[in-house]
Amino acid sequence: MTSTTDSGSLDAYRIAEEPYYRPTGDEVALYEAAYAGRLPMMLKGPTGCGKTRFIEHMAWRLGRPLITVSCHEDMTASDLVGRYLLEPEGTVWHDGPLTRAVRFGAICYLDEIVEARQDTTVVIHSLTDDRRVLPLEKKNELVTAHPDFQLVISYNPGYQSVLKDLKESTKQRFCALDFRYPNAAIEVEIVAREAGLDPQQAAKVVRIAERSRNLRGHGLEEGASTRMLIHAGKLVARGVPLGEACEIALVLPITDDPDMRDALGHAIAASL
């Protein structure tokens, strides 16, 4: 393990190829404006609607490295900011992903922020107001953010757990973009492009997705996401019949409830 104090290591986080993203509104312009002001951003929306793809696309567009951290419930503040580790020559400080982004000017994307414990999330407070500093308590250092640094979080309201929610004081530090599943025409375009499918077939897949989204909150936690549609589309593109592709990509993953499977299965059959 090497000490990560050289900025060259951020090159690994640069995105060379343009990630495909199909804007559904003016979110690209809005984000660019927010970045220009280095405003912390919150991306809201259901799973698989394109939040992560969007931030990758924006990082590429702005030419900034992107450091992504997937938050989980055991994550501690030191997992973000760094810790002392033991090495043969003594204790050595290792920057965490957040500290690295702050020091060297990356976009730091904290995915599914509510999964992290609340005491963990407060470390971002000083970075998200006009101070833009990150205190490393244990190291007794105050890191001033690089001018390129920006903090972005994703946040799925609702279906994580009511017991977990962002503190009001955290929420109020962010500007937010709300992501939805794109409207049918755009979604067809996305599925066709990503799965390499002809638009007619893609349109059928999208129509089928509509069926499962109708069941949201009535037996299903969430309808089929755009990501799932792309999966189904990829299967179809490889020669799997549409019905079966939908079954394995759209129905079986989202529910184990036999009634819901039956209902969805027949609704799909009706759409074919």
């Binding site: 204790t91 109708n214 039956d262 799909i268």
Partner: protein, 757 residues
């Protein structure tokens, strides 16, 4: 009118020691509009001369029916008892009462119970000698069969015997082995209830339609009981389609729902019935069926595979109206079907020619009328009374037509209209007063139980509590009187209906609770002991050691399941101000409090937390009205539902006394944590307290007192305007303002879970 009370008095005077309780119980079972009919029914049974045993059985089991599914059941039972007594004799009538009580408990809802009752009446007429045998075995039979299967089985027995009463008797005593065989067959039949959930999901998935689905009412004509029907936000489905079994049966349900869904999605407004003849009505409906199906198949081509197999009309055969209709239906949906009939061909051509106008509902009317005229000229007879729509998955077409009159408000639409009716009942004060006047003589007829009854109506003073005067800094002992009231019982169906309306939210709550309950145990880090090392803590400890510091010895972690041990008393403010409309929602504050409470109770019951619900308002210090809606040891069931539905806004908000009284109950709960959750729309106030600060300070004092006894109080304040006062009472941390009151029902359960996590 005094006579009315005879059986009733007799009933209570039988057991003197418990008269008061019974009496009160009876009032609960038969709230005001029902008491008089119930008494009349008792008198009628007694007066009919079926004998003492029948009278007693009716009274006793009628009450049991009322307990199980409400007063209507008990009152309806009287007709059935009379009918059965006349046809099959006293023994059968007596057994009917007993079986009815059992059936009411088992079926658990009025419509099915009514179906059962009407079935028993019909059966007693068909097989008088066997009625009491069957009634005796009712518990066994209903254990095997639902009501519609029971009907099939009874009919099977009647048919098999072919009018021979001895053979009938042998069948129903199960001496005939055929009885057993038929029983098994009927029991295996698929009925809608078995697949209801998946069918609802199917309709929701296809068209995004979520409506209640119920059985056709027992009073509907035979023809419409065999077909589905839709209208007024409800779909009626027969419990089964005779002749279809297993998978095929599921397909009929699915086809019927897809068809009704197509009407609801692609149909236009109802056609005015005008001067149309039954023949024309049926034809226009038929064309409209084909039109919406064609539109649905444009969006969902797969539906053709679902619907087509049911079109089995053959091109040959007599040119009668039912046959021609079925053939036309098939010709319109099945391109490969060829019919020699000129009339059918003309219908299909017209329909296809107007294909461009498929989106226009007027097209159906146009074609239907023309075809109707042709049929008239062909002198084909049409009998509207015997006509049943074919194929079976299609609906009875009642939902397509506007009959002008409000004739749809029959029993059928009851489910939908109940809530409206509930409100009407509140408004019909004059009516109620008249009924009360009628009852009045009873009260005066020196009947002690009834006198006490009236007292209960006025409320029973149960406790006196001190009140705090901030100016003297002292509590004035025994200053307020809490009077407990039974609320007038409302319609208990309100609660399931609220849950239905908020199905998505209720599901979400259940899901969250389930995942919270079965979720992985929590990992506790930095523990002084435990089954695993906490790596972070170990590294830190090692680092500290190397630095020469004192390490933190808590380097273990362990998994632990957190136990909930919590009792909650929900207290609702039902002061007059809760009658205010919430702008933009069409509901009053109380309505929303009620909805929120239902969802909250749903959440608490799922969590398994013991909870109680009560409501309060006040009319001066001598009358702090307190209503127990649900007590800790009871379940949140019909009785509590009725009480919750019956709450009405009145008077003021003397919060301190109500909280002290609520705490007295909660105090007795043996839970680690005890919580009072108060829902209010204003600050403490009362008519006899002109000084605003006095009651605010008293409420604050009451909460301090509760806190000292280990009871937490949390307040949910609805609307703005009382921040200052409520902050003073509860403290900022124990108070949540909800500005958009219309969102209360969704917020409250979530708040509760967060609060108690």
């Amino acid at each position: 009118m005094a006579e009315d009370s005879k059986p009733f008095l007799k009933l209570v005077s039988d057991e003197d020691s418990t008269t008061m309780q019974q009496d009160k119980g009876l009032q609960m079972l038969f709230p005001e509009p029902y008491m008089a009919p119930w008494l009349r029914a008792c008198r009628r049974i007694e007066g009919a001369g079926y004998g003492e045993a029948v009278t007693r059985a009716y009274e006793r089991h009628g009450i049991a029916c009322a307990q199980a599914i409400g007063p209507d059941a008990a009152i309806d039972l009287a007709d059935a008892v009379s009918a059965v007594a006349i046809k099959s004799g006293r023994k059968a009538a007596e057994t009917l009462c007993e079986a009815a009580a059992m059936t009411a408990r088992r079926l658990g809802e009025l419509p099915r119970f009514r179906n059962w009752l009407s079935l028993m009446q019909r059966f007693a007429a068909m097989a008088p000698e066997s009625a009491w045998v069957v009634l005796q075995r009712m518990k066994f039979l209903l254990g095997q069969l639902n009501v519609s299967a029971l009907e099939s089985w009874l009919l099977a027995g009647v048919r098999l015997a072919g009018g021979d009463s001895e053979r009938r008797y042998a069948f129903f005593t199960m001496e005939n082995p055929d009885a057993e065989r038929w029983l098994l067959r009927e029991a295996g039949d698929l009925v809608f209830a078995d697949v209801e959930r998946r069918m609802k999901a199917y309709l929701a998935a296809l068209f995004g339609i979520r409506v209640p689905m119920v059985e056709p009412s027992a009073s509907a004509p035979e023809a419409s009981r065999r077909r589905s029907s839709f209208g007024a936000g409800i779909i009626r489905l027969p419990q089964s389609y005779p002749g279809y079994r297993g998978q095929r049966c599921e397909d009929v349900f699915r086809a019927a729902l897809a068809h009704a869904g197509a009407h609801m999605t692609y149909g236009g407004p109802r056609y005015p019935i005008g001067q149309l003849k039954p023949l024309q009505v049926s034809l226009v409906s038929l064309i409209e069926d084909a039109r919406v199906e064609r539109l649905a198949m444009r969006d969902f081509p797969g539906l053709a595979r679902l619907w087509l197999p049911f079109h089995i009309a053959q091109a040959s055969g007599a040119e009668t109206a039912p046959s021609l209709f079925a053939r036309l239906s098939r010709a319109l949906i099945d391109p490969d079907f060829h019919d020699p009939s000129a009339w059918v061909r003309k219908g299909r051509e017209m329909f296809n020619d107007l294909g461009g106008e498929l989106d226009n509902p007027a097209m159906s009317r146009h074609i239907g009328n023309l075809l109707g005229n042709d049929l008239g000229q062909m002198r084909v007879q049409f009998n509207a009374k015997t006509y049943v729509v074919e194929p079976p998955y299609r609906d009875d077409n009642m939902g397509l037509w506007d009959f002008g009159e409000e004739n749809t408000v029959d029993e059928e639409v009851e489910v939908v209209l109940d809530s409206a009716r509930l409100e009407q009942r509140d408004d019909q004060e004059p009516d109620r007063e008249r009924e009360e006047e009628e009852e009045e003589p009873q009260d005066d007829s020196e009947s002690a139980p009834l006198a006490r009854e009236t007292l209960a109506d006025q409320g029973i003073p149960v406790a006196r509590y001190p009140e705090f005067d901030y100016q003297t800094g002292r509590e004035r002992s025994e200053w307020t009187t809490v009077v407990e009231y039974d609320p007038p019982a409302g319609a208990p169906q309100l609660v399931p209906r609220i849950l239905e309306r908020h199905a998505a939210l209720a599901n979400r709550i259940s899901g969250l609770i389930r995942s919270a309950r079965v979720s992985r145990a929590q990992r506790l880090k930095r523990q002084p002991d435990g089954e695993a090392l906490d790596l972070d803590a170990c590294i830190e400890a090692a680092v500290s050691l190397r630095r020469g510091e004192m390490p933190d010895t808590r380097v273990y972690q362990r998994m632990e399941r957190r136990q909930r041990d919590l009792a909650v008393q929900v207290v609702l403010d039902v002061s007059q101000s809760t009658a205010d409309q919430v702008p933009g929602s069409g509901s009053t504050i109380l309505d929303l409090e009620r909805e929120a409470t239902v969802l909250l109770a749903h959440a608490m019951a799922e969590l398994g937390d013991p909870f109680a619900i009560s409501a309060f308002c006040s009319n001066g210090r001598e009358e702090v009205r307190y209503t127990r809606i649900k007590e800790f040891e009871r379940s949140f069931a019909t009785e509590a539902h009725a009480r919750l539905a019956g709450l009405a806004p009145a008077y003021s908000t003397r919060m301190g006394a109500a909280l002290r009284h609520a705490a007295a109950d909660l105090q007795r709960q043996r839970s680690y944590r005890r919580l009072v959750l108060l829902l209010t729309d204003g600050e403490p106030s009362d008519v006899d307290c002109p000084e605003r600060r006095y009651l605010i300070e008293d409420a604050r004092r009451a909460i301090h007192g509760l806190a000292a006894r280990g009871i937490d109080v949390f307040c949910v304040a609805l609307g703005r305007g009382h921040e200052e006062a409520l902050n003073r009472v509860f403290g900022r941390r124990n108070l949540l303002h909800i500005d958009r009151i219309e969102r209360l029902p969704e917020k409250l359960p979530l708040l509760y879970m967060r609060l108690t996590a």
